[in-house]
């Protein structure tokens, strides 16, 4: 846990995201019909999901560590990771809706990708409700950890796997490749991958701040 008190990776995150903000608007992008300049959204919409996947995955790791050791801190870290991930979930959904309005013609066209993303969001809402409905600390920690471990793979299947098996407007579904030759050339990767790492680290940073606040609150509550 010493890692979260260090500064170097926070600066790394800032530098990477700052670079993608500038390079994402200036560097060359392929000229594609319908998309036009909105293809630059790729640098800002997709990293939201990457940040979400990262913090949700870290949350699962902490849940497993909590079940192994029974230490309260791991449970708190896991919860704050989920809370941060849900913020990025909403950002990803809203930016996706914005982009869809100008390329698919509708904010919400009941596309399989959109629908299953919404279901996955409800899955994590259920996690928060479940957690807040249990008063006893150990029981709450255990039940919510187990729920979290099961929710993660279901979320991945809902967002990444199921939409690919049907026809969807979203790239990477229904036989049209995401990150294929059509919609991503190598000059875009130079910006996209740093954006993934940068935003994921920013997600971890926000989660770590929330965790530290939660830890102080927790200590205060146990002393009183």
């Amino acid at each position: 846990m010493k890692f979260i008190y260090q500064t170097w990776w926070k600066i790394l995150a800032v530098v990477l995201v700052f670079y993608t903000l500038i390079a994402g608007l200036l560097f060359h992008v392929p000229t594609l019909p319908i998309l036009h300049e909105t293809i630059r959204n790729l640098y800002f919409h997709v990293p939201m999901w990457m940040a979400m996947f990262s913090v949700f995955f870290i949350s699962v790791v902490f849940s497993i560590m909590y079940l192994n050791t029974g230490k309260e801190e791991y449970d708190l870290a896991s919860v704050e990771c989920v809370n941060t991930g849900m913020m990025f979930f909403v950002l990803g959904l809203v930016t996706g809706m914005m982009w869809a309005k100008y390329t698919w013609g509708e904010y919400w066209s009941n596309d399989p990708k959109q629908n299953s993303a919404a279901i996955a969001f409800l899955l994590y809402c259920a996690y928060v409700v479940l957690r807040n409905s249990i008063d006893e600390e150990q029981k709450r920690g255990k039940i919510s950890s187990i729920y979290n471990i099961f929710a993660f793979p279901i979320m991945v299947v809902l967002i990444m796997v199921l939409p690919r098996m049907t026809d969807s407007l979203h790239p990477g579904n229904g036989g049209n490749p995401a990150f294929g030759k059509m919609d991503l050339d190598n000059r875009m990767r130079v910006v996209l991958y740093p954006a993934f790492i940068g935003w994921a680290l920013i997600g971890v940073w926000i989660a770590s701040i929330r965790y530290r606040i939660r830890l102080i609150e927790h200590k205060k509550n146990t002393i009183n």
Binding site: K10, L21, L26, V29, T31, L32, H36, W205
Partner: protein, 67 residues
């Protein structure tokens, strides 16, 4: 003769459609070449720097609180 001319006509129609498709993708080249995109980038950069300074200050306050 009529058949042949209509076939040629259709072929020509196809070429015009095709030409439109390949040259018709509009990008915001004028905005970028006239240099105004830098205004947008500066705005975004200022917003981002502001948020980051805010995050760092929260981090610092937390460090004090933890001690």
């Amino acid at each position: 003769m009529k058949k042949l001319s209509s076939i040629i006509l259709f072929l020509l129609i196809f070429t015009t459609v095709f030409a439109q498709q390949s040259a018709g993708v509009e990008m915001a080249d004028t905005l970028r070449s006239s240099g105004k995109i830098y205004v947008v980038i500066t705005t975004i950069a200022i917003v981002f720097i502001g948020i980051i300074i805010y995050l760092f200050s929260i981090d610092r306050r937390l460090k004090k609180l933890e001690k």
